[in-house]
Symmetry: C2
DNA sequence: TATTGTTATACTCTATAACTATA
DNA sequence: TATAGTTATAGAGTATAACAATA
């Protein structure tokens, strides 16, 4: 996908990727950046996402399944491997004897904070390839498109959160 | 990642994601679109990429490894599973007795063409959430950023290809 | 000697199905 | 009965290391 040019017009001035190729390649690039930074901390993308959602939540396994769009058995294994590495803990729920509450450890929190801020720096570097004007414009357009897409799917991109205070 | 708003300014007019969150969320969204379309044809993203690069190439295992950024042993398994499904063939190289040449079958070609055009339609739908002007501008900026990034890394985004004629 | 590809091995990630314990 | 979580099982995907065949 995105391996052929497919641009009929070549205005010599500035060659351009097709819109589809551009979005696809951008997506792969960002994905690789995240993968690389996570990998530096021995984290996979899904482990990073797990730690990420735990930064301001203390969910059950089922809730994690909904948040990460995974089967509960997949979450069970994911959490088990994270727990074995000392990144999260599993405590019995005080209100429901069937549930467990998953929580970040200090080590887990510092890992995800590092990976996350390094990834942010990577994206920043990428954006800095554009002029300040272009950069602002790109962010505005992406945001506008995502907001419209979220609205189409009944998702609120700007929820009022009532979570525990973050420590990072 | 990207689970907290982190927007201090809320200009009531049009709320905006931070640049980093915007790019990250856009990347995940595109990734999910591709995953969904590929999945409808029982393809993973990596299988789809494999078929994608084979649309206009007949590479060796090693070349595929470079193209997909995978170890040759990983490519070996990937191609083996694709071959088992009748999506690719493996022929001995006529010029190097150690190499094999991997090629798309008609079935593989039609699968990747379908997935690819459906994915294209998805991206089109997404872009259509913007006005024509915004859409053109977004594509232009993304392309410009990717071209600059590629240049930074010594990659030619617009290679002159000398491949076999595509059949799709 | 170096390169190409395969195989053995090990691990992560994922889902389905069967199970236990609790509600 | 229904839900929460674990476990068994199966398979894709990945890498490292060892190997055979060829260059």
């Amino acid at each position: 996908m995105g391996n052929r040019p497919g641009n009929r017009s070549t205005p010599a001035k500035e060659r351009q990727l097709s819109p589809v190729d551009g979005l696809a390649q951008l997506s792969f690039l960002i994905h690789r950046l995240l993968e690389r930074r996570a990998g530096e901390h021995e984290l996979s993308i899904i482990q990073t996402r797990l730690l990420g959602v735990l930064r301001d939540r203390r969910p059950t396994i089922s809730e994690l399944g909904k948040l990460l769009d995974l089967d509960k058995s997949s979450v069970s294994g994911l959490v088990e491997r994270a727990e074995r590495r000392g990144l999260v803990t599993r405590d019995p729920s005080p209100t429901d004897g069937r549930s467990v509450l998953v929580r970040l450890t200090g080590h887990g929190r510092s890992l995800v904070s590092e990976a996350s801020s390094q990834f942010g720096a990577d994206v920043f570097t990428l954006l800095n390839l554009l002029s300040p004007t272009d950069r602002r414009e790109l962010s505005r357009l992406i945001s506008r498109m995502l907001v419209a897409h979220a609205a189409d799917h009944g998702i609120d991109l700007f929820p009022t959160i009532e979570a525990e205070p973050g420590t990072d």
